[in-house]
Amino acid sequence: MTKVKSALVISGLDRKASGVGLEVGQPLANARAMLPEVKAMAANESGDHALLNRIADWSERFTPFVALDPPRALLLDVSGCTHLFGGERKLLDRILAALRKQDFAVRGALAATAMCARACSRYRDGLVVPQGEEDKAIAKLPIDALYLDAVTTHAFRRAGLKTIGQVADRGRAELTARFGAAMVFTLEHALGKAERPITPRAPLPDYSAERNFAEPVATEAVIHDTLISLAQTLCEALENRSEGARRLEAAFFRADGAVNRIAIETGSPTRDARIVGRLFREKLDALADPLDPGFGFDLIRLAASHTQRCEAQAADFSADLNEEREIRFLVDRLAARFGPHRILAFHANDTHIPEAAGLALPAQEMRGEKTTWHKIRQPHRAPRRPLRMFAKPEPASYLKEVSHPSSLRLRWRQTTQPVIHMEGPERIAMEWWRHVAPEPTRDYFRVETRDGRRFWSYCNGVFDRDLKLVQLPHWLIHGTFA
């Protein structure tokens, strides 16, 4: 039961309850009046949805084209798949039998259009509608089978139109005027006279290859070999179309219904089965919770979900290009193992804000991008930017002894060191043209302590642009020089 407008309403029934005349949509109080001993429990909508999704995952072994039809239906587009399972009849029986074996109460039908199949599944379970006989198959079904909204269904009933056949006999213009074009389209769809593709859950991959196993497989070696041979099939298809894969997804269908998906990404279009196999091995090795084969996998599918144009390359013996390729492969391998955000390359950023001047971005994204760097240092002079920079500048303080006003000491991280050099300031104003309330101006000093350590330290904004005192000055260490 669910709550609809503060009334408890029945949202689902078991077989026994529907046998005694209870209905979905009936208020619970009503049902209790008919049958005082009725057992009611709160509906778990999110749980139902998750279960439906898992069944959808499972059914992807029959076709990649699976759509959800909430709350409790799945639409499978099996065009072109049926011959793999011995025809339409056998496929439908197999799906229904497999689901019943898992203790689901299931009804199903197969037809040329999704609406027709949906209508038949409710009232004519297990029916395979022959091509072109859709209207005949559903003519006798009650109007409910179209799953129109309650108002429309009720209106048809009141008009005395009880079956789909009766509605279908009415003029289309008449129906459109009364119920709108959408309803007419649904009707035409159910009659097999209009076509609309279903919307799959995930975008369909551009290329995919799969292998079914008569006996579920569980050993790592077999899984790996399968991936390589699937990759070979896929790479041949990619090569024929002059494309390369940027993202590949392997789906492991476990015998008990669970589906594991593992994806790898490459920095440049790839169609080398050896490389794909290696990347998957890196990824599988590095998984936090390893791929659990359970009772084994009975289907493994490899799909290229993102592809790019990639011209065939003539064998190249130039050392530079080969080196570049090897580095790209290394980056892909490290990204597969540690994650793409873990392998970075520096990118120049046109700003004078010190921490933003050099960005470390994922190296896979940055193929062949050239950036120009501008140094600040004068020839043969000291570096002006520290080699190591703290992501969050650390507070420090400078102490002066009363007896020796010239001696300055730096206190940072619980230690105090005499300062022997202090150069500056280098004033860096924040970007007031980008932010409404920019950070205060920073005055940077290069500071050396007696033990030779060199710090980049700044005094955070004393004055704002109108030379008003904003806050008391405080000192921070931003980095350390080599």
Binding site: N322, A348, R385, P386, L387, F390
Partner: protein
Amino acid sequence: MSGGSEKIAALRATLAQAGLESLVANPHIPLGFAPADTELKGGLQRGTLHEIFAASGHEASATGFAAGLAWRVAGKKKILWIRQDYSALEFGELSATGFLELGLDPSRILLLCTARADDAIKGASDALTCAALGAVVIEIPGAPKILDLVTSRRLTLACSQSNVPAFLLRFGAKPEASTAETRWVIRARASPINEEEDWGQPVFETELVRNRHGRTGQWVMEWDCETGFFGEPHRGKPAHRLAVVSAAGDRQAAAALEQSRFI
């Protein structure tokens, strides 16, 4: 050492400057600082493992020295720098502009960030199979268990197979038994007090505490940001009292003394 090897080192330096290093099969690549090059029989070889220890508090300096060595031996190739997250938090993140100011092109660095030391070693072992890399720098704070003699041997083997040099940059750790070709202990050299000028290019107090090709020693070297070579410090020469190699006779004792002082 005789003057002959010094001469060879100087000749190699000339070759290197002319970009003709590759003419010599697995050559010793000179650092540019003649006394050190003499002891190293001409410099560092590719395909070997080197260790650089930072004296406590001098991590940035050791980073600079490691970058210098890696750039010397990498030629024109890319450098993979592996660093742990902890290292970035504690000692600061590597900064692109910092490399640039040292005269090193940041575009040539690939940065691999790992959470743990064993990930860093795994990543390094994988990277060392890629002969297209110029050098691999592995930055490890502390003394993780994985970094034992076996790992060190494995890295050395990987280096020699692909002919890629590796540099283990160690922070807050004591030198232990390893198969490294050379081992350095680095601290920053305090600048001479001179009010008019800035402190100039980075100057390192280096101690070579292990050297498989010759004697150990300690030198003060300056990194030349323009040419990309190490060399004699330019400024305040009289102040550098360590700029002489220790005499051959008391080398063992001196090395032991240095090591104990560092610890």
